[in-house]
Symmetry: D2
């Protein structure tokens, strides 16, 4: 902590330990195992790790709240983009910490854990209210939740906590806000230019060209040729499902896509033409949403591996199936899965249609001579 | 958190959020900038990072306290070695987190910091009582401390905190305990065998051999030969200072060595003959002490880089010289510097004298046929 | 690189760049995309990352080869334990690098990859001979391999490479060597003491006690009580399968266990009584085998996430199903899964039967007064 | 490696191991210690680590070359900014690997190193041509180099290598290119608006205000008040040196600043008004240059710690003073030190003068209604 000229000192001098409320913070580690006499050494680590998690969860919520606020206006200010992106970048750095903290927790061996885990029943990490709030703020939907023994995901919570979590389901979430922002992208239709038309044309051309190469490639045996042509057929049907809004909606209904057709187009456009100045920060934003999704997925996965190692096939203290549950939920609860699908539909830069000059111009800065 | 058969459930069911005292923990972030109206967004990060540091400092102290307790007996139980080593390993993992947390803090830019740093005056990171306790527990001596503007290192602390820190100077510290443990190493003199004699003989032989090689190496020009022979002279005087207890004491008085001569010998012995079963854990222990020393040094250095970037040449809020102070103190406050000097005095395995069979035997397990 | 007294200089002066063969090393990046004119910028990264992987794979093989050699004798020297453990620790550090390298590769976006991936067909990461050698050296069995479109895992390799990989299946692998070493553990039966008997007795006592607590716990509703008692039943059957060699063999046949019954017992014994000096390094060894298993699993998983992000649902260049394949094989190809199951069968230290004094004595050092 | 529809397969099928030239790559590890018979186990690690370093150095050079090319035009295209920034971000990720690799190398103990280091004399890490090329490409000047025993930094290189390195001193370096790019910033003077005037006025106002607060603060004792007012005087002189071009030039001559006065102003402007769309990527670029500078500094520092631990006070194989040299050169060879000084001269956002509307307008996108 540092002071400087240019700073007006506070009326009362600030004391580090008061400012950080260290009395409360460092007085909040009550070892349950101490109730019976000698505290179990490793219970302190268990508490500290989980408290550090909760501090960081609070910080992530703080960042997500601001991102939601910045994304809320009907028109997101371009001057806000750097800030939005910076908040998301910070979350990715915090996620790396979350994962590193598992390594620290793994310095506790199963035998050490066994010495105090009976004191914790039925407390369970599934009761982290803040982590549920993060998931809801990101855009995990109630219907995406895995039921625990037929119970809703909030079953293990106290009534007050359950209320808070359920209320958060109704708050504007990052997924919805980003989807709406994508849908408003002004460049997809510009005068005679329609991105979706030229995109489809370019894909057709590309596929026809590839088909021709395979059909005439002398290095291929007939079975190989047939197999490759058949694989083209499959690919083509993937593309068709993207071209066509009805088929896209069907994928959404089936739970395989989540973004609206328009938003999906915009996300693809931003990825393909990301070098345009007006798309540089939007491209970053989309990339960071994937990073964050992946960060939580990786954390859940590492957490599942750790739990498996710690308790084997025993039942979780919260009554859950423990490791198996965690592995499954690492795959679920992904919010921006659609963005990971975009790569399927990209076109190599060399085949990318040039944009009309006046569209390009509108995506440049005024000071530029375009 | 997990339960299991083999666990006796507690009388009252435990609730995650009560167990972790989350009400207190998550209610301890009071933004000073909020006093004037709108809170500054990044102050939350500033608080959370420093609170996370303090949680981890508490954990490190918890581990160091146990290590001190385990090292205290006149004879350290061999059955305790794994535990001592595991505690130290945990500290090194926590140190990695401490360093990673700087990366998170660096997502705050200098301009963002400037928005609330005036609220913190004169609070300062130098007021972390726990970090001072860690340093004292490790064995940083009062006389090693850099004075801040002529004041003792505890000057910025409240009276109560100062008392706690100054009392901790008198507690048994890891350096002293390890030194005493090293001095008790039973293998240095065993019947007719005296490690220090055979070590010196081996060094002499090695140096004579090297001198001969240089003297007759046809690839060397005369100036090169002279230069190398001169460099041998210098090396020899390094060794002499180690051979001779009086010279060693002089180095200690000059602040260039800290371990007693006997302890230094034992540390060298353990490093050279570490493959002996009875020396495997001791070798690990010495290695980890270096790792921890280096971990704190790296953390201080990274912290200094960060501060420099954040405040440039401004003055620290605590009135310190900021970055410059931190860089200096990264080099000081090293406790186990002697262990880093050991490599200077090692002998290649091929020249290492074999130990007498009955000495080897005593360092093996009873179940082995030796 | 550093020289020192105590070193005999080589006959010919060594030049850094010659020593490292940098001419060859740095002349081995031939961009396929350059064949058509302008090289694609990101292909360099693609090559360098994969070459760095192969360098580290070579290092891992080098370490595994030595570990295999050190574990091979009918009696593994206790003086070799530190070395074995150090080799395995090094592998875990290298694994962290392997995972970090994925982060570097992810700085290449799908669109960038699309610019040169057509030049690579049908080359595929599945053709890494060294990684297959590592897996075989670790103890992945041919029958554990997932078939790719009905083909053996070596199908994509050249004839020479296939030969090398298939030969490696027959080499002594770490799993087999560790299993044999565990089976030879001399402490399981010692005079009248039989670990397996006292372990079973302790488990029974523990289960009876827990059942009593549940049966009489006034905090439990009747349905909760019934549910918990039922869960005890399930746990008990888990234990029974461990107690009984025949049932254990059935699990082995079913592919749910791999270690022999005797080896499994020894691994449990080492974990429970790890504080005994003679078990400290063995405990470390078992822990590191889990770390390494988990390191490879994590790497495969992160690799699968990256591939999914890079190519979406496209087909892998080697014709594999790409990401889906990788996710599945991250779960398979685990070698020491049994060790992760050990935690299921642990007993809290407080219920752990004391060992007979003369058994303890044999696990201590001769120099100790026991 | 993956293939896809949309890819034209190459004429000849590509084989992974041929593509990566694994025969050469994996055939380039010749252990010097093997010349005398038994190779020393750890020499392989030593070679592999250094080879991995050289691969990554090649990649860093590849990125820097492209960045230099993209920064070279008299007007850097705004469409190139994302690409420039992405290249620099990649370098920072590679730097993390470089630092992690030290951890792997540290699994080799001093005693292990001693077994083969005599074979390396006088080869030395100082002979890494590529690292010198990187430094020169970044903008380390010949006059910044620390002399080794009076010799130029290229003295240990072969004639051919020395030639390459010396030639690289004359190539356009990132520092010069960035400085020129900063000097061309079009927004500093815009009609009647002159950034430097309003900046100076704002600083004066800020200082006067602070002086007033201190003068009248009833919480300050007289000595504290005097001390703080004196400290203001010092700060004011820091600012004056920045206001005045002549004084700035004097700092440049004294080696305390390096950027031209105009470039320094532009860097400050970009930092203060970074939310403007046209400054978002430039702000990122400046931040990344600091990250990279710091990355190399951290790497050098960690490398110095490692060397100190490995060889103690021995002399480096290249004849250098080893660790001491490395510590010093970690502090030197910083290229963008000026950017770290910017924080000294920042103004809190609340005191930041608003920009004229038409200047703001020119920094926005054409599609925006401004």
């Amino acid at each position: 902590m540092v002071s400087a000229v240019g700073d007006t000192p506070p009326a009362k001098p600030v004391y580090y330990s008061d400012y950080l409320q260290l009395d409360r913070l460092l007085g909040s580690q009550q070892l349950a195992s101490a109730a019976d006499g000698e505290p179990v050494h490793d219970e302190m680590l268990f508490i500290i790790v989980h408290q550090a998690y909760e501090l960081w969860f609070k910080q992530i919520l703080w960042e997500l709240d601001e991102v939601a606020k910045l994304l809320a206006p009907a028109r997101v200010a371009e001057t806000a983009m750097l800030r939005i992106v910076a908040r998301l970048e910070r979350i990715t750095e915090i996620q790396k910490l979350l994962i590193e903290q598992i390594t620290v927790l793994e310095t506790m061996t199963p035998l050490d854990f066994l010495e105090f885990r009976n004191y914790l029943i039925p407390a369970s990490g599934f009761q982290s209210v803040q982590f549920r709030l993060i998931e809801n703020r990101m855009g995990v939907r109630p219907e995406d939740r895995i039921k625990l023994a037929g119970n809703p995901y909030t079953a293990a919570l106290s009534e007050a906590d359950r209320g808070r979590v359920e209320e958060s389901e109704a708050l504007p979430n990052i997924f919805d806000l980003v989807e709406a922002w994508l849908e408003r992208t002004p460049f997809l239709d510009h005068g005679d230019f329609h991105f979706w038309d030229i995109y489809q044309a370019a894909v057709h051309e590309m596929l026809e060209h590839d088909r021709g190469v395979v059909a005439t490639n002398p290095n291929l045996s007939e079975p190989e040729r047939e197999s490759q042509l058949k694989s083209f057929g499959q690919t083509f049907s993937l593309y068709e499902a993207v071209f066509d809004e009805t088929k896209h909606e069907a994928l959404v209904s089936a739970g395989e896509r989540r973004l609206s057709h328009r938003a999906f187009q915009a996300a693809l456009f931003i990825n393909l033409y990301r070098d345009e100045p007006a798309l540089q920060e939007p491209f970053r934003l989309l990339t960071l949403l994937m990073d964050i999704d992946q960060g939580f997925t990786s954390w859940r996965y590492r957490h599942a591996l750790m739990t498996q190692r710690m308790i084997g096939r025993r039942v979780g203290t919260g009554g859950s199936a423990g490791a198996a549950y965690l592995t499954r939920s690492a795959d679920r609860n992904r919010v921006f899965g659609d963005l990971f699908q975009l790569s399927t539909f990209m076109i190599p830069r060399s085949l990318l249609p040039a944009l009309p000059v006046d569209l390009e111009r509108t995506m440049r800065f005024r000071f530029e001579d375009v």
